[in-house]
Structure formats: C-alpha cells, structure tokens
Amino acid sequence: MLKNYLFIVFCIMSLSMSAQTIDISGTVIDGGSQIPLPDANVQVEGTEKGASTDFDGVFTLTGVPSDGTLVVSYLGFVTQKIPIDGKTTFEVVLQPDTEALEDVVVIGYGQSSKRNISGSVSKVGAADIKKLDPINAAQSLQGTAAGVNVTPQGGSPGAEANIRIRGVATNGDASPLIILDGFQYDGGLNSINPQDIENITVLKDAQAAIYGTIASNGVILVTTKSGKRNQSAKFEYQTYYGFQETTRELPLLNATEYALLLNESYANSGQTSPIQNLSGLGRGTDWQDEIFEVAPIMNHNLSIRGGSEKTSYSFSGSLLDQDGIVGGDKSSFVRKTASLSIDTDLNDKLNFKTKLFYTNQESKGLNTFGLGSVLFNAINMAPTIGAGVDNLDGEIDLGNEVVNPITQIRNTYNESVNNRLSGTVQATYDYADNLNIQARLGFNRNGTEFREFIPVFNYGPGKVFNRLEDNLVNQNKIINNDYTFDLFNTYSNTFEDIHDVTFLLGMTVYKSFGEGLFGSRTGVPSNSFDFADIGTATGAGENNTAGSYAYDVRRLSYFGRLEYTLDDKYLFSAMLRRDSSTRFGPNNRVGYFPSITSGWIISDENFFPQSDNIDFLKLRASYGIMGNDRIGDFLYLSLLTGQATYANGEDGLVNGIAQGPIPNPNAQWEEAVKTDFGLDLRLFNNKVNFTFDYYRNDTDKLLISNIPVSGIFGSSAPGASSPTINAGKVRNQGLEFELNYSDNITDDFSFGAGFNIATIQNEVLSIRGADFVEGGAFGVGQPLPSRMEVGQPIGYFYGLRTDGIFQSQAEVDAHPSQAGLGATAQPGDIRYVDSNGDGVINADDRVKVGNPIPDFTFGFNLSLNYKNFDMNTYVFGNLGNDIVRNYERDQPNVNQLGYRLDRWTGPGTSSTVPRATTSATANKVFSDFFVEDGSFARIQTIALGYTFEENLLQKIGLKQLRIYGKIDNVYTFTDYTGYDPTASSGAPIGSGIDFGFYPLPRTYIVGLNANF
C-alpha cells in the first residue's frame, strides 16, 4: 500500500521536474471580513510543494512549475484553484463556505456531516435564529423543525415553553434533554441568550441513543458561538425596542346586558334578581380594558469575537427587560447574561477550551393560572361594579373566589431572583495518529431566591384571598447544582480510501444535588413589602414555619459508538450505552441502551440515472432503545412520610412516624423503542431540499403513579399510597415532511421558502393493573376530565356528549332521565346522549369528547432579499386538537361570555346555548359543550430589514449595519374562542385545558445590528 503511494508521488515529482519553475508570492484574504487570513494552506496541485500564510496572510513559494495550479484552502472557506500561468504575485480572496459550516451536525460526543448522518436530525441554524430574533430561544424551534412542538406556558414575561419532540410518550416529564455545548443543561432554553446561539440540533430518533437513559424524549443540542482563529476582534452590537399588547379580549357582557341576563335567570327560577334598577347602568366597567395595558420591551446585546493563530475567544453580554401586558410593574422579567469562551492550542497535540455562561433573571409575577388568576377575575367580575371598589362588601355576591382584579394586582408583591453560572472546561489530546482523548467537565449552579408578601386585606365577605388577621411573608432559597464529567476517546481513520471508521468509547459521571429552604411568618411591620422579611416579622408559634428538602441524584454511564462509511455511500453506525442511576431500584440498577442507524446514498450509485434534476438522494433507517430516567427519586425506598396521628385519650393528639408511599424495588426507567425510516432528497442544483420521515416510538414500562395494588401492602393507611410502577405502554407514530427551497433569481433578488408538516398519532397500548389513569381538572368538584386509557390517545377528554337543547317538556319526557346528573332536565337545558343505552343519563354515559393532541403540526417560512432589503415571515400551526374551555366560573352572578346572549329563551330560539337560570341544572357538567376545536395557524413573525451599503459605513467606522422592524404574534387564524389556542398546561394527562390562559402578547419592535 505504502509502496504504491511512494511510487505515485515519485512519478509526479519526476514529472514536475521537467517543467519550467518560478518563484511566486501572494496574500490570502477573507472575503467576508476583508482581512488577511493567516495559516491558510497554499499547495501546488499534484505536488508536495506548499506553504502556509503568515500572520499577515502572506505566502511565498519557490520553484513552482509555471504551468501548475495553486490550491488555496482554509477550514470553513470555499477552496479555490488558480492556474499559475507564469504569474508571480497573487491576491486570493477566499469566500466563507457557509454551507460547509451549516453542514456540520453535532450528534453528542462528536459530530458528523449532514450528508453522512443516518439518523433523523433537524437543525435550526444561526440564520433562522437571527431572522426570528426570539425572546426565548425555544421559539426558534416553533414551526421550523418538523415534529417539534413548542407550546408557551403563557404570555407572562419570562414564561418557559414546553417542548415536545414527536408527541408525548410519558405521563411524567415529557420534555427533551437539553445539551449545551456538550453538558446537560437543566436551566430551560429561556435562560440562554438567543443571540449567543450558533445553532440548535434536534435528535429525534435512535440517533439520540448515545444519551441512553436520558434520551427518550429526544435531545436538543445547543451550540453557542465561538470566535474564529486568525481573525481580528469583531464587535457586534444588537438592540431592539418595542412594545407589547394583548392579541385578544374576550367578548363579555356589558353592565346592561349583564343585568338583563341576570334578571332573566332569576326570573326563570322564580326568584328576585339582585339588580332591580337597570337605568343608568350603561356599559359599566370593562374589566379587561382595566387590566390589559401596552407594555414595553427592550434588549441590548454586545459581543466581541476573534482569535489569533492558536487561540480564539468570544465574549458577550446581553440585557432583556420585558414588562407584562397585565399588571404593569407587578409583572416583569429582566434577564442579564454574560458569556465567555476561549479555545486555545497549548501545543500541537493539546487543545484547551472553556465556555462560561452567567445568567441573572429577576421576575415578578401575578397569579396567572386558573381559578383565582387575575384574568379569571377579570372575566368573571360583574361589570356593574366600579373599577375602584376594593372591598366587594355590599356588591352583588360573586362567590368566594372572584375578587376585583385591579385590587388583586395592587396587593401582589413578589420577586424572584435567579442566578445561574454554567460552563464547561475541556481538554483534547491527540496522543497518537487518528486518536484523541477528550476530558470535559460541565457544571451548573443555580440559585433562586423568592420572596412574597401577602398584606392584610379584606376583598369582601368570605373571599378566599382575604387576610383579615395577619399579613404573611414567604421566602424560599433553592440551590441546584450539577456536574457532568465526560471522558471519551475517539479513533478515526480511513482504510483503503473507502472504509471510513470512527470509533468512540467513553464514560460520563453525572451528579445533581441541592437543597431548598423555605419559611413563612406573619406579622410584617406596617403591613408593607418594605419590611417583608422573616427576620423582621414577629409571628410566633404556628405563624412562624419553616421547611426544607435536599436531593442527590447520580448517574454513571459508559458508551461506545462505531461509525462506518463504505465508499462514501453506505452509512452505518451502532451505539451502546450502559447507565446506572440512583433513580433505579436495586433490582434494576443498570440499563443497556443499544441502537443502530444506517443510510444509503443511492444517488451516488452507478446505476442511479444521471439526471441534472436529482442531486442527492439518501435513504435512512434507524432503530434503538432509549430511556427516560426522570421518574422521581427513590421510588424504590420506603420513605417515612406517612401520617401517624392517634388520640392520646385526653383530647389531644400524639404523633408518630409511619411509612409513606409503598416502595417499588423494581422501579426503573421508562423505555422507548424508536424506529425511523427516512429519505433526504435534493433537487435542481440543490435549490430544493426535501426530507421525509416515518417514525414509530413505542414507550414501554411507562411509570404510573399511585396504581392500585393489593390492600395487604397497607396502601390505605393514612399518608400511605400505592407505589409507582412501570405499567404502561404508549405508541406515537407519524410522518414528517420538510421542504425547503432557495434560489437567487437575479443578482439582486433571492428567495427562500420552507414548509414542514408532521402528523402525530398517539395511542395508549396497555396499562397493567388499572383500567385508566385520570388527570386534569374541570370546574369545581367535578370528576377529572382527562384520561389515559388503552386504545385512546393519552390525556383524551372524557365527558358527556350533547345532543342540542330540549325545546319542550315533551322532548324532556321522551328522553331518558338526566336526574342522575344532579338536576332534572327542563326545556332549555342541554340534552345529553345516553351513550350506554341504559335508559338513564348519568356519569356512566361519559365517552371520548376530545383529544388535546393535534393531528398535524406545521410550519412555513418565507424570506425575500431584494438589493439591500430583506423580508422574513414565519407561520406555524396545529390542526385537529381540542381545547377545554374552563375559565367560566359556575356561579349565578358572575359575568358571562358574549355567546350567552344567544341563549335558549323559548322553543326554537337556540339549539346550542342553554337557558339562563339560577336553579340547579346539569348544564355545567363536563361535556362536549365545553370542548372546542383548537386548530390554528399563527403568523408568528413578519420582519423587514435594510442593510446599508458598506462603502457608506466605512466612513463612520462600521463594517455592517442593518436596521429592521418586526412584529411577533401578528395574527392567529382560529375558531377557538378563548384568549390563545396555544394554551397548554403541559401535563400529559390534563393538557389542553384552558384555565384562562394568559395570552401571548403581540410585539412590535424596531432594532439594529451593527458590526465594527
């Protein structure tokens, strides 16, 4: 082999000797930044003659053949070939190879190329992130990566988002693993400065199996920006200012409409209405107008990146300040971030790299969720009450929960401060040819301080928010720490030109530990937040309480991966990971997670028809087993948290200690078997990119908490409960399509568009030991509305089916009795379907009335560039999911939604909205009356930018300047009547229930990006 090479080299050398030789020199320049490129490689084609450029980008070569060809290359730039043609000086401008950079795909403990990867991977690059310019980095995955569903937890400032990859396959924590520059990051994407992010890669199938027992929800790999070698400092400043407003106010009744409807409902029950005089009521108070406001948002970001021959560096700092559209300064989010990255070659073989991230977040929040939230009060508050009435004594009775939302906002005092320091330190040693070893320590330290003050206040008689005797201060301090230590060895080589082999062997040690301390005390002096501190307050005995917790979770993992490529066409990789974890019971301490992925670049085959239209076609298949270890700690241990209280015979109590939930020594990870078949296709000179995947994820050993077990184990004892057992199986399957098109129509005009759509079909395959598991909440005191049940999608809605409105007593009499629902039906009441046909309507007639999981999720984006103008828009949506309307308080005097005006008032007046009455009815029982189609399409972003001419900028010392205007959450196409169809509570059983969702704001901003 070696002999052959030597022979060829010798032949070439001897050939070149015969031509005329000259001396040449030149400079190599970065076509992007227009600065010289040191260390670029200049080679005479077909010879061993070559040189590297010096720090000024200059090279010299002697004795080169005058008819030869120069090959100039540098990592990350498009290689150029230049005929020498007897010239002696050259100026070579290398253009950055954006495609090459974009082509790199991180896959965990290594990287691959988009071409050669055989798993299902989506990547959102810097370009997309820059165009979307999101406040929360999670938004950059919304509608841009097929099969990735992002639902914000609300529109309040700083709210996190729930990310679900290829559906929900657990009733525990379904969020994906986030890996930031190689280490496990539990801070949520919102704590990362979006402008620091280079790209986000999503591993959707068995490709993620290298992460073993933490991979089954999918893996999101975030890579942050680094400096470039041999580049002078590059400054980048970005800023935007803007304001936010609500996208929607619900149609509610005004004071006169409200009073009329109230009088009718009382009259229908033979009672006297509390409002007798309607004159002068007018429109009354519009509570939504009172609480919604226009709120500012502002962001600054400065970064400096660059590098020398051996070292690159990056520094950035950012500030985001966002107020809420409800509550003004009582609701805000301020995020400050700083990051530092250094990458240096200590010598030829040893590289050292570190990245540090600091995030400081300060937030203030209102009660934004469910019964008792500010919006809930605004919806249900009577419009006849003046906005300034703080104490509802003497006003119409609205039940114990509804209070004046303005008063509520004023009496809300809290602040949460979160400080996070995360980072990674890494050394890579090339200790032999084709071999290197990396050691890496990643860490997170996150401290949260929370303080809340509840003043003495009387909202009115019997209100649950009242504090009549004493005010209260609550304080928490929580410290979370973790570290990830990785040690892995990579061997990479090519044999006989066609066998590419990369072999990885490594281990990871992970430890997460921390504690929380919380206390509360009454007696804050002066009833003022200024003195709200446990130390200052004076409460004693039961008015001065404290609690705490601590945890220690560890994982030890070994892993290996073999990647083999034959002839650059046949792709194969196999992975195996062994995990042991503190979370697993002693009988299942160790888990093994194997997977294989394979691919075939069929377009490189000789038999493949050579066509100008098809540039690339790859078929992929993968299969693997992954785990989910976020199952709760120490399920296998019997913790003594039970209740052990007995009477001591003298009218007092005596307290002992008892066992809590029954332990399950067999507790283990949830296990997902993932299968994926896909193809990647590029057409028409790579202008069209098409990706298709079919996936099937079967999650087995799903943990079900509190599953019924035999009474002999004592689960009925006070404070005890049934164990958590691996007993369920759920299947998610579907199809994903991604289509991208980009083209330069003319020199001045380029155009790009992308579309993706994914289907999800979720089905519970089995539950061992229980018929169903319930969750969610509807109304007050009603059965739980969401279920996990065999043959149905997880968390489907379970309630009565309606069949219009009874128009007459004859219809009521002809129908099975509805008395079993709590009230005998009358004309104008909802008619329910006797689903089980037993001649009576009761809770046994409940059936599936909805599914919170969308059938389709899709995204669309469009970008246009004309001369110096750029325009981008992003659209995303869901089709086929249902939402439960659960923000109407079931109380006779609360305000009503506008649809109530179309109520039944006599035969033929309505077949959808029941009569108004204060009497007991079965109309509020959970049924499809409260289930709405949640399908939507949202224009998330429209942005328009202008980039100034460079020659104009040079005069003021700028290299690049772009100004832009952007609208986020522009418009939502939907039939859903609530605030926001993206509502989600996140819990797998109980998602899709709208408790008065805080709507996402519409945001208008103007901003600029400047490089200098």
Binding site: L640, N648, G649, G656, F713, A717
Partner: protein, 492 residues
Amino acid sequence: MKNILTLIIAFFILSSCSDDFVEVTPPFAVNDETFFQGEEDYVNALIASYDILQSTYVNVMTSEIASDNVNAGGESPTDVIGWQQIDQMAHTPINQQLRDVWNYNFAGVQRAGFIIQNQDRADFEGKTQIIAEARLLRAYFNFQLVKFFGGIPIKPQGQFQLGEELTIPRSSVEDVYAYIEDDLLFAVENMDMASQDPYRFNRLAAHALLGKVYLYEEKFTEAAEQLSQVIDSGAFHLYGTQGEEDYEDLFEFIAENGPESVLEIQYTGVQGAGFDCLQCSEGNVMVGFSGVRGYNGPVFESGFGFVLPTEEMYNAFTPNDLRRDVSILDIEAWAAETGASFNVGNQDSETGHTGYYNRKYIPRINDNQPDVNLTQPNNYRAIRYADVLLMAAEALNRGGLDDELALDYVNQVRNRAGLSDVQANGSQLLDIIYNERKLELVGEGHRFFDLVRTGRASQSIEGFSTDKHEVFPIPLEEIQFSQGRWEQNQGY
C-alpha cells in the same frame, strides 16, 4: 505516551467497578433503612400502628349491620350500597365497605409488621414491651380479618412485599388463629400490667383479647383462664356499681378510659377530616354516620342515620331493663319529650327507618372540627368489662368448667342493668348468657360474629345462607391482584 495510555486504561478500570457511585440514600430524609435507631423510633412506629385502630369504625358498622340487631339506614335504600346489601345478606365480592375492612386492617398488620420485622435493629430498655404491643395490635387486626374473611395471607416475620400477593397463599383459618395466638401469647408474657401511656394497651387488654380469640376457637379452658386474669386482677368493675358512677353515663365522655374500658380505641375531634380519607380521621366516623338525620335539639348532634336498631331489638329488652334506654334512642319519644326535630332518610321496610337509633354511638354535642360528621370524639370500647364477664361465663359454661361462677358473672351484668338474679345451669344457662350478650352488647359490633361462631346465624338473620354467609367474600379486586391465587370464599 505510554504513560498516558496506562493512565486512561487505569481510569476506565477503576471507574468500571464504581457502580456504588450511585448507591446513595436520600439526604437528610428518614427511610426504612435508616429508621429504628433507638427507643424513640420504635415508639413512633408504634403510634403509627395504634393510628390504624381508628379505622375500626368500618368493622363495627359493617358487622352490626350484618346482624339481626339493626337496619342499614342512611339517606335512601341505595345510600352506601355496600352496607345496604350486607343488611339484606345480598352482598357480593364487589363491596367497597368490605374492601375497606380488608384494606384498613391489612394496613394495621403492615404497620405493626414494620416494627416486628425490624425488632433487632436497636436495643434499649423496654423494647420487649414495644414489640409485645406491636404483636398485640397485629393480632387485633388479624383477628378482625379472620372473622370477616376466614383464611387470609399471613407473613409472621413482618411486612408483605410487592409481588408476594402472587406467592403467599391464603392460610387456613386454623393457621391464622395459631398465628394470632402466638402474637398474643407473646404479648401477655411480655407486657406490663400498667399501660405505658393512657392511650396504649396493657397486659390485661392482651389477656382479654386472647381470651376472646380462644372463645372463638372454642378452646374454653384456655379462654376462661385468660379472661379470669382480667377479672381477678381487680382492675375493672362494671361502671355504675361504685362511688358516684351512674350507669347511664357508661357511653358518655365521662366514662371513657374508665373502670369498664378493657380495650378502648381513642378518638378526638380536635383535628378536621374529609371524605377523601375516612380512615385518616382522628374522630370516630361511626358516630357521625349513626347520628339522627337533620337532628336539631338538646344533647345530641345530627348525623347520617345509619345503624338503626329494629323494633324487635327494642322489644327484646324488658321495660325495666336499664340497658334499653342507654342502648337505644326512641326518637319519637325523645322528640315529644324535648321538642327536638329530625328528618327521616331511607324508608325502605327492610333496610330503612325504624324510629330507633344506636344511642351508644351517636354524636353528643361537642365542638369537634369539620367535617363534624367525621370527627366525633366518642371512644369505642372494643372490649368492655361486661363483655369479659359474659365471655368468661360462656367459656366456663360451655367448657363444663364452673356453672356457678358463670352464673355469678351473668348476674353481675344483670344486676347492673337493674335486673334481678337468675338461677340456671347447663344449656339453660347458656341460653341466658347468649341473650344477655345480645342485650348488653347491642350496637357494639359483636352480635353477627357471636351468632356465626355459635351456629345460630341462620335461624336469626334473615337471608343468611349456611356455608356461605359465615364469612364475607374476598374483595374482587384482591382476587384479581392475586391473579386468582387467592380463592374466593365458598358461595360467592
């Protein structure tokens, strides 16, 4: 180079045997492996076992309703359907109240078993007393279970572990009794005569329970021997026969933990409770459930109107028997006398309103916490001295041991009720003993099992099928959990 490779290899080898890195215990939390460090832990675990005694309400109500003494009552003929079915001997393996009996008593067995299983973890003075009390409690719960269900799964060495529902079969009734005897013999040998705390049992309580267990096994000599330990101790007397005591106060708060309380279960109303966990209540759920519906008047509080004594029961007392008006409240007469008002719930002729209430255990006016129907503080006298005397009399008579002494015990009970001495022996005396048991212990949950163990159930209880209703069915769910390994009782 070589050094580094060696280092790497060494690291991998070292770390490969360190799975104990993940062997940690929850920081600062108490778990069963770190518990039982000393006396305090054992006492705390013992309190947890006593706690389950408070769920005894379901045993008492269920067995009383099963007897010929009372109707189920309640709001309607379907209110607590499990009890309504039992009242009519129409119960099936699907019955929430029977499932409660199973679950609660096994919870007690598990909590006591927790101590017994870990008895060797620490040593301190007085440990044997605690172990003995735990075994007494375990015997109490197992005795309930064997009375209700016959043979049950047992594990004398300690707690059942998940999976053992598939490996531990139902033991025979004889084996369960042997197990109970074993626990109680340990208790009587190792417990002090004095209780360690007012709420805890003493050795005499163990003697009484063991005597009762022997009586159920028809081991009359042993029963008489154990019960005479209680009687001869002189620690107890019939309430109302000494000092300022008034028999009418026997079931009032004043007589709680008094001279007649051999084995008494403690309740209090100082802590609230809810329907989602009846067994968590520190109050006596039976009392609120037995109260007069919608009652408004003196002395008593309202309740849910279960456990209604029948007219036959009321008439079984002679009018001069003081026990009649202490045991049974004639609501019509009471209302006429005091002007109290009340509602009638279930009016079904088989299971409904009778006009009579179980006066021993209906709510008295007090300031208990909400839900007030669940937190009534009335203690339950699980074994009263009068019961001990009658059990001893029965053992002496049926064992052919000493009819004269038996007669003396019966007459003590009769005299306290204002009745004169009787003279009898042999089977005639036995009939008197049986009748006195019915009258003395009505409303206390003993009648059904007395009838069953003496073979008189089928002639007394309407709908009772011999060879079926002597025991209740194993809950269907339990049969399913055991995957059919626990066979259903005969006839169900």
